[in-house]
Amino acid sequence: MKYVCLIYGVEEQLNAMPQDDLDRLIEETAASDEELRASGHLILGEALEHVHAAMTVRVRDGKLSATTGPFAETVEQLGGFVLIEARDLNEAVRIAGRLPSARVGSVEVRPVIDLAREHS
């Protein structure tokens, strides 16, 4: 099964982090990605730019509107994601719990809909 781990955090907190801590978090994340790649779990993992780099797009009645900023103002912002292959939800939760970002923010684990399975 595929799961996506959505990594949320308070951007202001991350911005206020001492450089040493930030460097260490980046280094640990690289090591963690390497480990997940070696164990065959990692499909794709990326960190995202700050929300002020975001655009929100909608199409209504054939008209496109593009506004600056995120879709929703939230306390914690989406800062990255990891797409993994895991045996089941508990394995996905175990992997999410080992992500270094989980010690700073929160990781939401969401199963990816398996269309082949849904219609079998």
Binding site: M1, E28, E35, S39, D88, N90, E91, V93, R94
Partner: protein, 402 residues
């Protein structure tokens, strides 16, 4: 690499059980298991499958776990000490202790620090290899609910430093009772699902019987044989108990050629092993009743006598209801109805009690009351096959009374 998939299916739980013992931690063992299979997938195609794949996987998993801990020690010094400690340990023991490892794992999953509802989930996932999603499906709950139970159970096991072992003799009776309870719960969930019916659930009955066999081999206690006998004898009628659409078929109407003779023979043998101890407990009495049900002629007086003993050993309203039905078979519907009516308070929400009552009323020709009782039973059950069965009974009442 279909061979490796097959190997994962047959060996992964045993390898995991051994790794849990060697590494002393569920999560580390699960990571190590995954690493071992990844290593096998990359090495075996080149170097060939080793003579003893299971031992190879255990050994590879253990080394990978030590590697992991060493790498993580860059960020957490404690893990470095743990890695050093594990490296000092001797090589994994030879293969004959593998089943013992599974037994240790069952006792760990059913340890008193683990809440009862989590014991079932832990056993199904860690020992039987079901996924969280499959367990949730079988128990009609959501995967996050099951996942959280398992996460908490593992945290409890870690926090309480539950030793990973078969309990010492003085603790064994009470600890074994918990394990047998979980195995039987798994079985009944597969054998008599509370609602719906599907393949995963039928698989639960097989898993429970497999576990029962492992237990009886490693821990030949009378109670273990009693439970194994009960599961085998009840399960022997599985194909005959339900029609194509899943509706229940009563004993009298079952096609006896569908009964599984090898299960009956194995069950009878297990029951004889249990009886040799000279004592018989609740599982054994239920097994003896199940054994009567697979005889060519049903001996109702003997079944009533067994229910009398079961009522003494382990009284419950459901046992009393089953006894009432057996009495009706022995002494006629009026005698049975008197007993069922005496239970009506305790079993007022149990649909099978109303169904039994309806059936006895029908036999006594009290059709209007029977109809009312069938309707009560229908109102109380969500189980689709039972609903169909009751609806058929209800509609046949009008033809009976005509």
């Amino acid at each position: 690499m279909t061979d490796l998939d097959e190997l994962y299916r047959t060996e992964s739980r045993r390898v995991l059980a051994t790794l849990v013992r060697l590494l002393g931690d569920f999560d580390l063992a699960e990571e190590a298991l995954q690493d071992a299979f990844v290593a096998a997938a990359s090495q075996w195609p080149r170097s060939g499958v080793p003579a003893n794949p299971r031992a190879w996987l255990v050994s590879a998993g253990r080394f990978k776990a030590i590697d992991r801990l060493r790498r993580r020690a860059r960020f957490d010094a404690v893990l470095g000490d743990l890695a050093a400690l594990l490296s000092e340990h001797p090589e994994p023991p030879p293969d004959d202790s593998v089943e013992d490892d599974r037994l240790r794992l069952v006792f760990t999953c059913c340890h008193p620090v683990v809440p009862p509802d989590a014991q079932v989930a832990m056993t199904l996932r860690e020992v039987c290899g079901l996924t969280t999603e499959e367990i949730a499906h079988a128990y009609l709950t959501t995967p996050p609910t099951v996942a959280q139970r398992i996460v908490r159970a593992k945290a409890r096991i870690r926090a309480e430093r539950v030793p990973y072992q078969v309990p010492p003799l003085d603790e064994l009776p009470s600890r074994l009772a918990a394990v047998l309870r979980v195995v039987y719960l798994v079985f009944t969930e597969g054998y008599a699902p509370a609602s719906g019916a599907d393949v995963v659930r039928a698989g639960l009955a097989d898993e429970a019987i497999r576990l029962g066999r492992v237990l009886s081999t490693l821990l030949p206690e009378p109670e273990v044989f009693e439970l194994l006998a009960l599961m085998l004898l009840q399960d022997s009628r599985r194909s005959a108990r339900t029609s194509a659409d899943g509706s229940p078929i009563l004993l009298a109407d079952q096609d006896r050629s569908l009964w599984d003779r090898s299960r009956i023979a194995e069950g009878a043998e297990a029951l004889a092993r249990a009886a040799a101890s000279g004592r018989i407990g609740p599982y054994g009495l239920q097994a003896a009743i199940a054994a009567e049900h697979v005889k060519d002629r049903t001996d109702w007086p003997r079944i009533v006598a067994l229910y009398d003993r079961l009522t003494e050993a382990d009284p419950s309203p459901v046992v009393a209801l089953n006894r009432a039905v057996a009495v009706a078979m022995r002494d006629g519907p009026a005698a049975g109805l008197e007993l069922v009516d005496a239970l009506s308070g305790e079993l007022s929400t149990y649909h099978l009690a109303h169904a039994a009552r309806a059936d006895l009323l029908r036999q006594l020709g009290r059709i209007a009351e029977a109809r009312e009782a069938y309707e009560r039973a229908l109102a109380l059950t969500q189980h689709e096959p039972d609903r169909r069965f009751l609806e058929r009974r209800l509609s046949s009442l009008s033809t009976d009374s005509a």
